[in-house]
């Protein structure tokens, strides 16, 4: 399953929230990917999220595929929307 989300956080997705996100993502079994401007990376990799360079205002697509995808999507999508 897929969902498009706009980054609202002032500092973008690459700063402090990245490590919280990766930590949460690692708690799920399903594959979690994030894509932004044609680049797709592993959402469980803190270093890959940093290289994504998703700044405020950019649109990212969150993809969760696997057993617990519904729970993962619900928590992670909400996290990206509300992080600051």
């Amino acid at each position: 399953m897929k969902q498009e989300i706009v980054i609202a956080a002032e500092a973008g997705f690459h700063a402090r929230p990245a490590s919280i996100f990766a930590k949460k993502a690692m708690g799920y079994q399903c594959d979690i990917n994030i894509s932004c401007e044609g680049k797709e990376i592993n959402g469980k990799s803190i270093m890959s999220i940093l290289t994504l360079g998703a700044a405020k205002g950019s649109v990212v697509t969150l993809t969760c595929e696997g057993a617990d995808e519904a729970e993962a999507m619900a928590e992670l999508a909400a996290f990206i929307e509300t992080m600051d």
Binding site: A11, H14, A15, K44, I46, S48
Partner: protein
């Protein structure tokens, strides 16, 4: 045992020998991939355990913030992309685990360094740390975790790198001894900034000192005492108490003016290597920063810092100083300061070679980037630019033209900067002291760098432990160069300061003040003591002192005379 007195203070603790082999990874192909994969798995497990332990200890003893660093390190270690890229290299290149780890790490560092973001730059340091730990575990190298030390300890090592000295904030570390280096090497500078006692250049210390024995070091005299007698212990403990009391008494001077009895105000400033050190300067009541060693922003990395990164660093320092002057010395690479990516060929005499302003005038991109960064920071405080190693009038003219060019670029981009920014030079090459009057027509200020000036005037390499006697600022030849420079600046009405070791030397301060020096920049920990001395001096009485000292024939005579003078104060 004796060494160079590098950082004042008495340290008492158990000896901890730090033998730190350099990790050199060379590709090995005659390996079994299964065995290498197992090595990687084992090393990861061991690293994870160590990091968990460090996190727990930090949480209990230091604080939540410090513990978070190790939590972040565990996140990096668990990163699936890093691990899978190591495994991929293992498989494709049929090489050893250490080489694969090193190669995968470098690839990530390269991507990160291409991103202009302060947060990401800090993560590079984390990644380096974790990969260093992982590699050490893989290669069976014993790592010393400074933050795990839990009893009073004196560290003994060949030398300590910046990555070691960050761990020295642990209050159980009472001082350190090194085998190599001089009073102006990195570890000595850091020790002085932190106020940690240190004795440097004790030959074969790691072999001669026994692990675990009781040690006392006196960083003020360079003495090392092994298993001291109760008597000796008593004597030095008393000295330690006195030092603490004196430091307590000096704290009253934090807000006092740096002014002599007869009302002559001078500046007593601090030397710093990064913006954080500016906090130490403020805590010690410094009148500003007389030397920001910008080369430290360039060291221990794979590529040069970007304009924004540098701008942020200079701006932060300027803001911490709240309007007090900040003198940024432009990149002083070469000599003993290695910056690998500048690709400087190795030379027979690096101190006499391609270094400092000589490199910058040659590499316009590098120089312009730095100058723009400093100029932009000048909008946020009282910033000045200083060029190191100026030897000729032409060099100063060219460097000033480069500043003009950087200003014009910023003007086109509508970036704010201080149009009236002062541009000065360091006087450390004898030729500059010889033509100080000529240079004073172009420079807004001068700062005498006594460490290099001494080694150049005396033709004595300051890294050479055998030449200690020559490498001494008290030699009349060096003092004449200093006096001549001060007089030239006075005649031209330009500000003259000093940012070498001599500026914070309690014996030389009266002499330098008598010569007319206006700014003294030193290790932050020496600021208050120096202010106390200045406040007891009367410049009207110092003319005779200068005349007498300048008529003496040897360094020993001069030192003895200044000692007597200092005792009578």
């Amino acid at each position: 045992m004796n060494g160079i007195a590098a950082s004042d203070g008495i340290g008492i603790g158990k000896a901890r020998i730090v033998n730190k082999p350099i990790i050199e990874v060379t590709k090995q192909n005659k390996v079994q991939t299964d065995v290498e994969r197992q090595k990687l798995t084992d090393a990861v497990a061991m690293t994870e355990k160590q990091l968990k332990n460090l996190e727990d200890v930090a949480k209990r003893q230091i604080g939540e913030d410090e513990a978070k660093v190790f939590e972040a390190h565990q996140m990096i270690l668990q990163d699936p992309e890093w691990m899978s890229s190591i495994e991929q290299i293992l498989k494709e290149e049929k090489c050893d685990a250490a080489y694969a780890t090193d190669k995968a790490t470098r690839a990530f560092i390269q991507i990160f360094e291409g991103i202009d973001d302060a947060y990401i730059k800090e993560r590079v340091a984390d990644l380096r740390d974790v990969s260093h730990r992982l590699l050490s575990n893989m290669l069976g190298i014993d790592l010393v975790d400074y933050s795990l030390i839990q009893e009073d300890t004196i560290l003994v090592g060949r030398d300590f790198e910046p990555s070691d000295t960050v761990g020295f904030t642990n209050p159980f570390i009472k001082g350190f001894i090194t085998e190599i280096g001089s009073a102006s090497s990195h570890s000595a500078i850091i020790a002085k900034t932190m106020g940690l006692p240190a004795v440097i250049g004790v030959p074969e210390a790691t072999k001669k000192i026994e692990e675990g024995i009781q040690l006392i070091i006196d960083g003020g005299t360079g003495e090392v005492f092994e298993s001291p007698s109760t008597d000796m212990m008593q004597k030095l403990t008393t000295k330690l108490e006195q030092q603490k009391e004196e430091a307590e008494a000096l704290k009253k001077l934090i807000t006092a003016e740096s002014m002599t009895i007869d009302g002559i105000a001078v500046e007593i400033s601090g030397n710093i290597a990064n913006p954080k050190d500016a906090v130490h300067v403020m805590e010690n009541g410094g009148d500003g920063v007389g030397l920001f060693r910008s080369e430290f922003l360039f060291m221990d990395r794979e590529t040069a810092p970007t304009e924004n990164e540098q701008f942020e660093a200079y701006k932060r320092a300027a803001e911490i100083l709240k309007g007090k002057p900040l003198i940024v010395r432009t990149l002083d690479a070469g000599g003993d300061k290695h910056v690998p990516y500048l690709n400087i060929a190795s030379e027979m005499n690096p101190f006499l070679g391609y270094r400092a302003i000589r490199i910058c005038l040659d590499r316009d991109d590098l120089f312009q980037t730095q100058l723009r960064a400093i100029l932009r920071a000048s909008h946020y405080g009282f910033v000045k630019i200083m060029f190191p190693m100026i030897a000729t009038y032409d060099e100063l003219r060219s460097a000033k033209e480069a500043v003009q060019k950087a200003k014009e670029t910023l003007k086109k981009l509508n970036q704010p900067y201080d149009e009236a920014i002062q541009v000065g030079i360091m006087v450390e090459v004898p030729s500059a002291a010889a033509i100080a009057d000529i240079l004073a027509t172009e420079a807004d200020f001068m700062s005498i760098g006594t460490n290099d000036l001494t080694q150049y005037v005396m033709a004595a390499d300051r890294m050479n432990e055998l030449l200690g006697n020559l490498n001494n600022t008290f030699h009349p030849a060096v003092l004449r160069m200093i006096y001549q420079t001060i007089k030239a600046c006075k005649n031209a009405g330009k500000m003259v300061g000093m940012c070498g070791e001599a500026a914070g030397d309690k014996l030389l301060i009266p002499l330098l003040l008598g010569m007319g020096l206006e700014e003294f920049s030193m290790s932050p920990t020496k600021i208050l003591k120096s202010r106390e001395i200045i406040r007891r001096l009367d410049t009207r009485a110092l003319g005779t002192l200068v005349d007498t000292v300048m008529a003496l024939k040897t360094a020993d005579e001069i030192k003895a005379y200044l000692e007597t003078f200092s005792r009578r104060l």
